[in-house]
């Protein structure tokens, strides 16, 4: 029985069986405090309470996935430590995003969301992992697959869902929609493929100019990776040593076009050429986190930009108008879901390391369900902003008060309602 108990603490994660990379292991390294716990567990059958408490602040160390390097000698850390609190947070964040995107898909099918809706399901480990490494002075800009990003950067679930349905409680009052979500240090939410990349380099320029030590993470997809302006951004960022981290979220497809059909070179982490790069397994949250910590260190010490390629997968089609099965097989999607789902991988790790208990995770699941359900309710029942507000905040310093309506007979009055949140 003793050996059984010891094994229950020490055994390697069962994720081994599901790993797509044979030979990869996950081991939980015992910290000395685990010995205390082990003893407690030995004694627990003799204690009155059968509820097991995991020590707050408990930490476990995991191996990160192998990185591939381009013009770099040093890789990000081979290990990543994770506290219990962090584990709970990351799990929750990923579950929120997963549920949020599922709810968005349903709202779209009910026609409560109109226009474009691009879901992030499957890619959660990227935004949660990156945010885990970012500091308050760092900024992020991404493209239109931005709901998960809006969440980790600080927008509430309700404000995201209400923005999708175009209601007043949307974080931009329904004026932006799915592709234009913004909050502090989060510059959207951008609809034009690739445009966000030089803009992100510009935010990095501002950070360097102002000396605030911040980096700017500019994300783009494998489709956008061929855009000319992306290379123009790499060039200027390298010339000026900007604290820019360019990150390609490679989910294998640019809309319906596989990477092999779109890119003469699919090694996106090398496409920066003279800009060093790193390839990361984007299904492993802690690997993503460690890579970003490395980037912050690198860029923060004035070495200039980096190009990252995060290998990931999206379960849904490109957007809600794409079933996502005409250019790939259902088997392929299923295989990823069953063997490489990022939430599943994290869950297995943190359970095996006994940072958390299954009950705690179940509790989080139900809290998340509740949070998203409430958000959906509000998103459906909230009102749209008043029609007159269509004429609000066109300019931060309006010079004319009259805005022409559809005819000259019904003009609107320009209103200034907002408080500006970007630096000024």
């Amino acid at each position: 029985m003793l050996s059984k108990l010891v094994k229950s603490v020490l055994k390697p994660s069962q994720a081994n069986m599901y790993s797509a990379w044979p030979g990869a292991r996950r081991t939980a390294t015992l910290m000395w405090s685990d010995f205390w716990e082990l003893s407690m567990r030995l004694l627990s059958p003799f204690m009155t309470s059968s509820v097991r408490n995991i020590t707050a602040g408990k930490t476990a160390t995991f191996e990160t996935r192998p990185y591939k390097l381009h013009k770099l000698d040093e890789a990000p850390s081979a290990t990543s430590s994770c506290t219990r609190e962090e584990a709970l947070l990351y799990y929750k964040q990923m579950q929120v995003i997963r549920r949020l995107e599922s709810a968005s898909g349903n709202l779209y099918k009910e026609k409560a969301i109109r226009g474009f809706c691009h879901l992030y399901s499957g890619q959660e480990a990227i935004c949660v992992g990156i945010k885990a490494a970012l500091r308050p002075q760092d900024a992020v800009i991404t493209a239109y697959r931005d709901h998960g990003w809006a969440y980790v950067m600080g927008c509430s679930v309700t404000s995201i869902l209400a923005e999708l349905t175009g209601r007043a409680q949307g974080m931009v009052r329904g004026k932006g929609g799915s592709m234009h979500m913004y909050t502090k240090n989060f510059y959207g939410g951008n609809g034009i493929v690739g445009a966000q990349v030089p803009v992100g380099a510009g935010v990095a320029l501002a950070n360097k100019y102002l000396g605030n030590g911040g980096i700017c993470v500019a994300l783009y997809g494998d489709g956008a990776a061929n855009q000319g302006q992306v290379f123009e951004a790499y060039n200027i960022a390298k010339l000026m040593d900007l604290p820019s981290v360019f990150i390609c979220e490679n989910n294998g497809y640019g809309m319906g076009t596989s990477v092999a059909r779109a890119s003469a070179s699919t090694n996106y982490y090398t496409r920066g050429d003279y800009v060093p790069g790193i390839w990361i397994d984007g299904m492993d949250l802690l690997s993503v986190k460690e890579a970003l910590k490395y980037c912050i260190d690198y860029c923060g010490s004035g070495k200039g930009p980096l190009v990252l390629e995060v290998a990931t997968y999206r379960y849904s089609g490109h957007s809600m108008s794409d079933p996502g099965t005409s250019y790939r097989t259902r088997d392929e999607i299923q295989e990823v879901r069953q063997t490489r789902d990022p939430i599943m991988l994290l869950k297995e790790n943190i359970l095996a390391a006994e940072l958390v208990t299954p009950d705690e995770l179940k509790k989080i699941d139900s809290e998340v369900r509740k949070e998203v359900d409430e958000g959906v309710k509000i998103a459906k029942s909230d009102k749209e902003i008043a029609i007159q507000e269509l004429a609000a905040d066109v300019y931060s310093e309006p010079l004319e008060t009259v805005i022409r309506g559809t005819t000259p007979f019904d003009p609107y009055t320009h209103m200034r309602l907002s408080k500006i949140i970007n630096p000024h």
């Binding site: 913004y182 803009v199 510009g202 935010v203 310093e397």
Partner: protein, 359 residues
């Protein structure tokens, strides 16, 4: 900006013979448009550390047209940045810098090249404040020479006044004189929204009389207000940028024949100072618009539409006529190029037709 004695004498006699409008001019100083723009940049960079200039050749070359002469020497690499020839990239970077807390002045060597970056001017810059419900502002200036120059061919001669002034979220100015150039560029830099400043290469070397007020560090012209360059009562001529010069020349010639033209210098294309034009037309009852750009969907077309929708319509004694560039890409041959841009005689003829002095 000091003068030789001969230039001073020339200037003073110029002041006495010219009829003026709203600006009071103390005899004394001439300022070229180039120097006016240079002072504007210098003063605003001195005043606010977050203002910086980027573009091709703006730093070490002193500017392709020497507008930024001396600025790199004075402010250094951090504030005056030479970019590679990658408009889309550097315009996007400029927009991001504005979002991140700076006040960039992004130069396009000519606005023809802005077409490569126009997505950033419109989608990244001008729409962001609105899409973000006023959370993210973009205090950026895009400036550079616009429109026809001399002998540069079709790809280097387009006027972008109509394209940019079409878009809400942008402010667009088109200075004519040195006073306009300095006051509007300073206003643009101080403005918290994206502003497009359409300069004119051929005017860079033109010297104008300026008052002491214009020379002061805080001289700013309000964006959105036109200036009546010359008062008149027979007909209103509305123009922007270099076309103002042509309109003034035509007005001078016509005055010799007893026709008094009121010449309005738009100064801004968005907002367009409709009020000043309407008031003038209600006085003169006749209107001609003058521009160097193409006619279809041009500035003149917009002004005409606005007048027709305004109370001034009922005051018109004749239809509004537009004098514009010829509706073709700009040819190279000299005589053809000249024929493609409105000249003084075109405006004079149009006035006479409208006033029925000529059949």
């Amino acid at each position: 900006m000091t003068l030789t004695a001969t230039r001073a004498a020339k200037h003073i006699s110029g002041v006495l013979t010219r009829s003026f409008s709203t600006t009071r001019v103390a005899a004394g100083t001439q300022l070229t448009v180039r120097d006016a723009l240079n002072s504007a940049l210098d003063e605003e960079m001195d005043r606010d550390e977050s203002v910086f200039l980027l573009g091709e050749e703006v730093a070490q070359y002193d500017g392709a047209y020497k507008v930024s002469r001396g600025l790199w020497k004075k402010y250094g690499d951090k504030r005056v940045i030479d970019t590679p020839i990658t408009e889309s990239g550097f315009a996007g970077i400029a927009v991001g810098a504005a979002m991140g807390g700076l006040r960039p002045v992004c130069e396009f060597m000519t606005f023809n090249f802005s077409m490569q970056a126009i997505d950033h001017v419109i989608n990244s810059a001008s729409k962001t404040f609105y899409m973000s419900a006023g959370l993210i502002h973009v205090p950026i200036v895009f400036r550079g020479p616009n429109g026809a120059a001399v002998g540069v061919g079709a790809q280097h001669s387009q006027c972008f006044g109509a394209w940019y002034s079409h878009c809400p979220g942008l402010k667009v100015v088109s200075p004519y004189s040195s006073e306009d150039a300095k006051g509007l560029l300073k206003a643009a830099i101080r403005d918290s929204d994206p502003v497009v400043v359409l300069e004119n290469e051929l005017l860079y070397g033109t010297a104008f009389d300026v008052s002491d007020e214009v020379l002061s560090k805080d001289f700013v012209i309000p964006i959105g207000k036109a200036k009546i360059e010359r008062a008149g009562h027979h007909i209103t001529l509305v123009a922007h940028s270099r076309a103002v010069l042509l309109a003034l020349e035509a007005a001078k010639a016509l005055a010799g024949e007893g026709v008094e033209c009121e010449v309005i210098n738009l100064r801004s294309l968005r907002p367009l100072d409709e009020r000043t034009i309407v008031d003038s037309v209600m006085k003169t009852r006749n209107l001609i618009t003058v521009e160097q750009g193409w006619p279809q969907c041009g500035i003149g077309a917009e002004i005409c539409a606005r007048i027709v929708e305004s109370p001034a319509f009922h005051y018109l004694e004749s239809p509004v006529i537009r004098v514009t560039g010829v509706d073709v890409p700009m040819p190279y041959a000299k005589s053809l190029e000249t024929a493609c841009i409105p000249q003084q005689h075109d405006i004079v003829k149009a006035v006479k037709k409208v006033l029925k002095i000529m059949k």
